[in-house]
Symmetry: C2
Subunit: 322 residues, 2 copies
């Protein structure tokens, strides 16, 4: 858990990081959050007006009720009035938001999306998530579930997914998928460099190690990032053909392997998206669809969360993010 | 070409239909449009204030310049200042809009989308087109090309498409695709009913005839609409997972075969879209993603075009549509 005080120019005034003791229950976690926030108060209490708290949550938020409806890592939080509890304990406005939407909003405010009002953020981590900013604000969708980009179908008869479908993007472009594909390549016996890395790191083999193998020229590792890029290209091409947004920001840990997967991604996009291609002559005038890496990295979500109370208010201010 | 006078309650006061003499050139067509509009003036001139003219165009519009950038059926119109010409000839405000966006706006105003502010319209005709309404207004995208839903990839290694990609939705869910699949089934020799229809109608075999074969129980015709439904389900599932819009309206001539393709479409959607499925318990409360047929049919685009000058103005009014 990271808690930060952020001013209205986007400066991180102070940050606190601490492990989230989820096992001790939701009441405990909420007390920890409000305790950390109180710890940060002296940082800005005399120089800034405190607008409120934005909280990025890895799950689906019920915005009306201020609860966390469905979050894999927060079992037992359903129906718990997180927002009301925090507001009562702190006496300020609290806004909950899905963490991927926070990251998208952060990039719009201070990162790759500063010059646009609409963008799509796709996060390649353990899973694949996403969020949209439309008209400068997070886009929630009718049931608050917008941004499930990891479950877009890219290969209709492809690998089965825990969501019940097959061939979801998450099965090809997440860190988990990269690890699975690496182990499959090793099992085939045609990837000596990966096999060596797997033997060395065992269960710890992650996307970064596969990326390093690809950089050293291991063809099997290169092929894995070809698949990452190709499937991302299909998914982004579909989004671009549909929405023609000005910007798509790729974040999450796998984005560190940008050099390995982005050539295949761009090739696939050019082949598949008539809308992306049509923007080509205008790309220099910023009147086309762009794809870029996150510029805020891990801070995107925290900064986006801090932005929420500012969007709800209008004057010069300061807010806290979790 | 159809020209209509529409009042601000959505009533068609009067409609004129005439063939569009495209071969006689753009200046001629524009004069025909303004002539037809003048013909309609007496219908409402004494009872209504005339707000302006909305024009639905089957192509990509440059909204700033008021030109038609790229339209397969309007060669030679590039850079021709259509909007300026019409405004000069008529002395009122003229708004150009892509025809699929007009249909989406029409459905939002008076049709299936009356109760929502955001929707996606997908039009299954000779090709597959689409349009989005976001916040009650047409969504254009950064280069004005949003809504190219026919070129979303549904089968990555599927049938080649004129756009340069493979496996585009248009290759499976358009009237053209239905005809192609019917001819392929006949060539295989396993579709006697279709073969008989093909022999009877020759080059005239269209989606309606294949639909009739499916209704009579021809398995090969049924299989074609399975493909239509399945690929639509993949494309809509991707859109719903990404955007979680409240409504998707299916229009165009192929929508008449709704009974033949919608079961496969809904099955695929349920299998593929975690966001669609999650809405299930709330569907009765209108807090979920819905898929429905057009309720305005061929009038959707005309009514949507008529809505454009009303959205640009605010008071009680009347406008004309082309």
């Amino acid at each position: 858990m990271r808690v930060a005080a952020v001013d209205d120019s986007g400066r991180l005034l102070e940050t606190i990081s601490k492990p989230t003791a989820l096992a001790q229950g939701r009441e405990h976690v909420v007390r920890e959050i409000s305790g950390s926030i109180r710890q940060l108060l002296p940082t800005f209490a005399h120089s800034h007006r405190w607008l409120g708290v934005g909280v990025g949550v890895p799950g689906i938020i019920d915005l009306e009720r201020g609860t966390v409806d469905s979050a894999a890592n927060l079992p037992g939080w359903n129906d718990y009035p997180v927002r009301h509890e925090l507001e009562t304990q702190l006496g300020v406005r609290v806004l909950l938001e899905n963490d991927a939407n926070c990251a998208a909003l952060g990039e719009k405010w201070l990162g790759a999306g500063r010059d646009v009002n609409d963008l799509c953020m796709i996060t390649l981590g353990t899973g694949v998530g996403g969020g949209f900013v439309v008209g400068g604000k997070p886009w929630h969708g009718v049931t608050g579930m917008a941004g499930e980009l990891g479950h877009m179908t890219v290969i209709p008869d492809g690998a089965p997914c825990a969501c019940g479908s097959r061939g979801c993007l998450e099965q090809y472009a997440s860190a988990t998928a990269i690890r699975r594909m690496a182990m499959e390549a090793v099992a085939k016996g045609t990837a000596p460099g990966l096999a060596e890395a797997l033997a060395r790191h065992g269960q710890e083999v992650d996307a970064q190690i596969v990326f390093e193998c690809a950089q050293r020229g291991e063809p099997a590792a290169g092929a894995i990032f070809e698949t990452v890029g190709k499937t991302l290209g299909i998914a982004l091409g579909n989004l671009i053909n549909a929405l023609n947004l000005p910007l798509h920001v790729v974040g999450g840990g796998v984005a560190n392997a940008w050099d390995a997967f982005s050539p295949a991604m761009m090739r696939e996009l050019n082949n598949r998206s008539i809308v992306f291609r049509a923007g080509e002559p205008r790309r220099s005038q910023h009147k086309a669809t762009a794809i870029t890496r996150t510029t805020l990295g891990k801070n995107a979500g925290l900064l986006g969360a801090a932005r929420l109370p500012m969007l709800a208010e209008k004057s010069a201010c300061c807010s806290l993010a979790v």
